[in-house]
């Protein structure tokens, strides 16, 4: 979990709910977001990198299955713009394939985390009382264990594939959205329209989804963006610890950590392309998150 999230976790308790989506109102936030040049640039970077990873291989054909040791660590040159890696894969093609896994896991894990967190947090906040207390203590307890330690354990028990990584990373990341949404729910549960709905006999799940969750959408969207950025760094860290996806599949984190073994040989093309791709993507998502947060009028320290 990153500090962005930690600072966000602070909010859940300090200021129950900003409900900023309302303040911005309607589609105003979209216009505010579009006016934020950095955020739009971030969005452009994400779209370009996604196209690069998923459409790129259709235009630039390389063999990313069979290793060819006779072609290992060739410097960039004609026909191989970024050279080859330590087992002879074309590095540019590898960057595309690795990008696919990186983005799949990042989006997937963020989705798992946000869905789980929203369900848990909105239920706890809306129900309140003892249920809320117990549910949030469970969040506190899980939050107390560094995610990387938990992942280290889970990754040794389950052999990582894309799906396993999505689930495992998502399962360690839902705590912050849970706290944030719970804070929103605490403040929303006593609004007139919620009370009205309750008086009319609307069922609890309907109230939670129709009124609590929809009115927390700003907070949820902002956090989802940061979750994607986080997941990319977490997967990179796991790959570095040797708990990434098994070859021939790869991701940018695995490419970067594989390449680091060759730092001293001066094979810069093994580390800098995947490393820069990671930093670029994470910066882009953080910029989008900051932009959304401003657009929704949420407090910088709390969303």
């Amino acid at each position: 979990m990153s500090l962005e999230n930690v600072t966000a976790a602070l909010s859940g308790e300090e200021h129950a709910g900003q409900a900023g989506a309302e303040a911005a109102g309607g589609r105003l936030w979209l216009r505010a977001f579009a006016g934020n040049r950095l955020a739009v640039a971030g969005l452009a970077v994400v779209i370009l990198l996604t196209l690069f990873s998923f459409i790129g291989p259709l235009l630039y054909h390389t063999d990313q299955i069979h290793t060819r040791l006779s072609l290992e660590t060739l410097a960039p040159g004609a026909g191989r713009p970024l050279g080859t890696d330590n087992v002879g894969y074309d590095q540019l093609g590898r960057l595309m394939v690795g990008g696919q896994t990186t983005l799949e896991v990042a989006f997937g894990a963020a989705a798992v985390a946000v869905v789980l967190g929203v369900l848990w947090g909105s239920a706890a906040g809306y129900l309140g009382g003892l249920v809320d207390g117990l549910m949030m203590r469970i969040v506190d307890a899980l939050l107390a264990i560094p995610a990387l330690l938990l992942l280290l354990f889970l990754a040794t028990v389950f052999r990582p594939t894309v799906l396993i990584l999505i689930i495992v990373v998502g399962l360690t990341a839902w705590l912050v959205p849970a706290r944030l949404v719970r804070g929103e729910a605490l403040s929303l549960r006593n609004r007139e329209y919620v009370l009205a709905a309750r008086t009319m006999g609307v069922r609890t799940p309907t109230i939670i989804f129709r009124h609590i969750v929809t009115n927390s959408i700003g907070t949820i969207l902002v956090n989802a963006t940061f979750q994607v950025a986080d997941a990319i760094l977490v997967v990179a860290a796991l790959s570095f610890l040797g708990l990434g996806i098994a070859p021939p599949a790869t991701n940018w984190g695995a490419m970067l950590s594989d390449g680091l073994n060759y730092t001293y040989s001066g094979y810069w093309w093994l580390t800098y392309p995947p490393g820069i791709a990671i930093v670029l993507t994470v910066v882009a998502f953080n910029l989008i998150g900051d932009g959304l947060r401003d657009a929704f009028g949420l407090d910088a320290r709390r969303a």
Partner: protein
């Protein structure tokens, strides 16, 4: 105040219990359960059945949990058959080293990030604010292990200023070669500064917009005094809570750093245990770090309450965690 303290402490106790249940649950998650965790991957089903009978693992789960918990409470964290040592003595050797590494780094990070964030907030929107924000933003988005390896590449391999390997041996031996500590400390410090300064910048910006700042300015207080006496004091109190909550984040960073520099702390211990499937050690580290985090954030909350007289201790929804 007393009510706040007792409620906060009882919450911490509940969280600690839940942490212990989670760790206990993790041993059940292993195929073969705790017997597999202790006997290792090569144990036969017969071994496991015999072990389960001997250690009361065929009794009901709550009874087993109680048995395990009473062991933990008396300092019995199990035994590492891989390292042939009790887990508790391994933890006793390694914990001070990690605490030292993380403590020094975080202290440095706060000492640098506070003036940096304050400076950025004051210079908001100017070139130097953008420059610092850009650098911290990029740093914040870079995998910690890459930061570490770039530091090694430049300062150890090319310039030969600092060694790439952390000092080994006992706790006191760490101090025998302070130069070797520079790069591991620098890694955690850099990664933490990036995150802290962002937080402090927006915290100070918030405070600068408050009425009391305008008041102080209009009565003619000097800029310096306004910033240090009023703004910084108010902006810093949430940082105490931030520190408590960021403990797991810092420890995750420490784990990576220890692995890169071969620093003999609990992070490296946990990593090696994971590789060797030495689950008693891995879970021992998870448990101890979890306890440390809960206690740390409890202390931070208490510290925050002592520092900030505006905190409401009881009743309001905001503090009902």
């Amino acid at each position: 105040m007393i009510r706040f303290l007792s409620r906060r402490c009882s919450q911490a106790v509940i969280v600690l219990l839940l942490v212990s249940i989670i760790v206990f649950g993790l041993t059940r998650l292993l195929p073969g359960g705790p017997a597999r965790a202790i006997l290792g991957v090569h144990a036969t089903p017969t071994n496991i059945a015999a072990f389960n009978r001997e250690n009361g693992l065929d009794s009901p789960l709550p009874a087993q949990y109680w048995h395990w918990l009473s062991g933990v409470l008396t300092g019995n964290f199990g035994f590492s058959y891989v390292l042939n040592q009790p887990v508790s003595s391994l933890l006793a050797q390694r914990l001070p080293k990690t605490a030292f590494l993380a403590g020094v780094s975080v202290l440095l990070a706060v000492l640098i990030a506070v003036p940096l964030g304050l400076y950025q907030a004051v210079r908001r929107g100017r070139a130097d604010d953008y420059a610092v924000t850009t650098v911290t933003f990029v740093l914040y988005s870079t995998p910690a292990f890459w930061v570490a390896l770039l530091l090694i590449d430049v300062l150890a391999v090319r310039l030969h200023v600092f060694p790439a390997e952390a000092p080994q041996g006992s706790f006191s031996a760490i101090f025998s070669d302070p130069g070797a500590l520079v790069l591991p400390v620098a890694t955690i410090t850099l990664v933490s500064i990036a995150a802290f300064s962002r937080y402090i910048r927006s915290s100070v910006l918030d405070e600068l917009a408050q009425d009391y700042v305008r008041m102080a300015r209009s009565k003619g207080a000097r800029r310096r005094v306004i910033l240090t006496r009023h703004v910084l004091r108010n902006a810093l109190s949430p940082v105490v809570t931030l520190l408590g909550l960021s403990l797991p984040f810092i420890l995750s960073g420490t784990l990576i750093t220890e692995q890169v520099f071969n620093y003999p702390g609990v992070g490296l211990l946990a990593f090696n245990a994971a590789v060797a499937q030495d689950y008693p050690v891995l879970l021992g580290v998870v448990l101890v770090v979890g306890i440390g985090t809960v206690v740390g954030s409890l202390l931070a909350d208490i510290g925050y309450a002592l520092l900030d007289p505006r905190v409401h201790y009881a009743g309001d929804a905001g503090s009902a965690r």
